[in-house]
Each structure stands twice: as structure tokens, then as C-alpha cells.
Amino acid sequence: MSLSLIVAIGFIGFVFLITIVIYNSLVSKKNEVENAQGGLDAQLKQRYDLIPNLVATVREFMQHEKGVLERIVELRTAALKKSISPKQKEKINKEISTNLSGLMVQVEQYPDLKSNTNFVNLQNTLYEVEENIAASRRFYNSAVTDYNNSIEMFPSNIFAKVFNYKRKEVFNIPEIERKNVNVKSLFQS
């Protein structure tokens, strides 16, 4: 076998090996993103499961917050529909978070509710779930960033184009929530 043939075979083998490594890396990162998404969905499901119990406990004490409670139940029902898109689901979950945190603030005006054992346990569980949701979103963003870096950086971007890997979006908050909170206005309202 001539030297040039050996070199050619070696070069082809090397390129083949690199192809395998890069392709597998892209697959691994895509799966990591799906894994992160699955983890987040599991945490969100835990929150949805808490809501009926929370609403039932709170309803008898917080007669004036009936509107908020009904809205939370509506949002929960909407979130559980299989037909909604990921973007709609994200929007609904953000609204659930906002309504729940607003509700927890209103609880301060109901001392009987605050001392209710069932409510205290539910509240602690809800805080835990919210922390887990925040951590899951951070993990998701980390996985997506890693994936996006791979599909945009050379030489893996070549393979990403060939195998039609598309950029994914990270979780972010609306522009209005990025502004500093005016605490004074909150007390005045």
C-alpha cells in the first residue's frame, strides 16, 4: 500500500471520527434540553396539583379574593390542555405565578388563615415548588445556552445546518418586569 493511500485513509478515518463526535455531542445537547424541559414540566405539574387544595383551603377565609381564586383555577385548567403551544403555556404559567404571589401577599390580611395548619403546610410546599421551578428554569436556560452555542460555533454549526438543528429560546421575563420596582408606589396603591 502506498504512503499516499495510507495518509488518505487515515485522513478519511479522522474526519469520520470527528463527524461522529460532533454529531453525538449535538444529539446529547438536544436531549439535555428536552430533559430540562421535562424536569420543568414535572415541577409545574406539582404546582397545578397543589392549586385545587390551596383554593379550597383559602376560599372559605378570603371571600373578597374570589376573583383571583377563580382566575387561578381558570389558568390551571388552561395550562393542562394538551392543545396549547409552548409559548402559550409559558404565558399561562407566568400569570399563575403572578396571581399566586399576589394571593400570598393578600393572606397577610387574614390572621385566621395564616394560623390554619393546612394552609401553612400548603404555603411551605408552594414555596418549595416555586424554588424548584426557578431552579428548573435556570437548568433549562443553561441547557439551551449550551445547545445554542454548539449549533452556532464552528465546526459544529456545519453539522447543525446539515441535520437541521434550530436555535431554541431561553426563558426570559417581559421588558416591563426588567425595570426596577418602585416600592414607594406599591405602598401608595
Binding site: 424554588e131 424548584n132 437548568f139 443553561s142
Partner: protein, 322 residues
Amino acid sequence: MTARRELRQLYNKRLKPKIRVLEREQRKIKNKILITFIVYLTLNIILFYSFSQFWIDATDGSIVFVAITFFLLTFFFIASFSFFSRSYRKRFKDEVVKEIFMLFIEDVEFIPESYIPEMTFQSSQLLSDRYNRYVGEDFVKGRVGDIKLEFSELRVERTTRRGKEQVTESVFNGLFFKYEFNKAISNPILVHADKAHRLVGKMFSKFLQRISKPKYSPVNLESIEFEKMFAVYCDDQIQARVILNPLTMDKMVKFQNRYKELIELSLIDNCLYLIVHTRKNHFEPKIFGKVVSWKEITEIFDLIDIVKSFVAQLNLNVRIRR
């Protein structure tokens, strides 16, 4: 009252009189060492003078005798330092150091001759290097609120043979803390000092991270400053991020920046283990110079206070859940 003001009050009211008593004892020790040194010098002069008179007729045996005598005299002279200062060191630890610990640790037990058990050290999974010597001192046990606390100085070494020479390498030299909470986490979290990042930069350190700890998965966190200093490992990516949230990462970065010695920690079951690579012998009085200065007292205080504040800020009793 701030902790520093409490320390200043303690120092002025209780520690200063005790330090004065220790200074008198220090003077006695220095006198004893001086006398011992004079005796040592005199004996060596006699030894070498005698040898110089008779060296022409000296045999191999007499040379060996002189050498052994010299080393024995030197050994006893050095050992006399430790012998004379034993009760002085014990009094310093019992009367000064223990008082400082009592400022922020409840139910303090201070056993200067004891140290963290080796099994506890191994349970922390913080150091995987082989070692064949495990010693320590200044064991402290107590409570900080609900949290049980133990710590001590440790020296972990490895002796290897390089050719004909025996070489001793330090594996760990510093302080080891163990905090026991009333809740446990399901997956161990290890936070190591990212020495690789400091040496070879981000790209290669991530690669080294993946291959160095195959037992656990690396966790890449968002804080750039934190990632430069620490390498995190945990099989549960979400749990790691619940514990190491942005506020905690910020506290750890500030802690590391303030206290230049490397820190590493692990969370396993219901315990937090924290090591500080100080390479210093802590909690010791001086034989020459001031027994202990205000600056040295604040160093002891700051070290324990920083670790205690840091652990309190982790708020693990609230945040660890089953």
C-alpha cells in the same frame, strides 16, 4: 451589639488579664529555654573540644559517638521547647481561645488534643487523594442555634518514596468544619475550588471537570465569577440550583475574595462539610514576641464568624427539603 464590639468587650474585660498572666508564664519559659540553650551550647563545646584534642587518634566508633551525642543533645534541646511550653499552650487555649469560641458557639466543648474523626473526613468526599498520615488538633464541638457544629485543624499527608528518598507531601492542611442539620438532601453536592480554571482557562477546565469526577455530573452555573472559582458536581441538576441560587453563589464569591485561602464544601445527607486550606497552625500562643495580639484574636474570630455567617446565609434548615 455587633459581634466585633462584643469581642472588644471580651478582650478588654476578660482576656487582657489572662494574657498578662500568660505573659509572666512566657517569661519563665524563655528563661528556662535560655538556661537550656546555655547548657546545650556548653555541652557541645566540651564535646567538640574533646574531639578536637583527640581527633588524630579518633576511630570510626568515636566519630559516630560524637555525631550521635550531638544529635541527641540537639533533639533534647528542641524537645525542651515543647516540654516547657505545654502547660502554657494549654492555658492559652482553655482561657483565651475557648472564650472567643463561646461568643458565637453554644455548649462549647474544646479538646485541644483531639480532632475530627477520620471517618467524618472521608464522609465529606472532599478529598479523594491517597494519604497515609492523618493528624490534627484543637477539636471544637457545639451548637449554633439548631445546627450542631464540629471543627478542628487537620493535617493530612502522603509519604512516598522517590528513589532512596522519602518525600512527604501535604494533601490538606487547614480547618475542617462539619455542620449537622435536621433535614437531609437526596443527592450529594460537591463544590470544589476550580484549580483547573485558574491554570488552563474555561474551555479545558470544563473538559477536565467531566473526566475528573466521573461519580457525579458537573453542574454549570450562570455566575461567571462563581464558575471561575468553583467546580460543582451533583447528579440532580435542579437540586444543585435550588441550593446554589444566585444569592448563595454571590456570598461564596465574596467569602472567597475576602478570605484568600481556598474553600471547598460538600452537602451530603444532612451534613455540610467545609474545608479551608489555611496551611497555618491556628490557636497557638507565641513563645517569643507578644503572647497574642488584638490582630491575631480578630483573625481567629473572623475566621469562625465568616464560616458561621456563610452557613447561616445558606439557610439550609429552611431550604433543604426531602
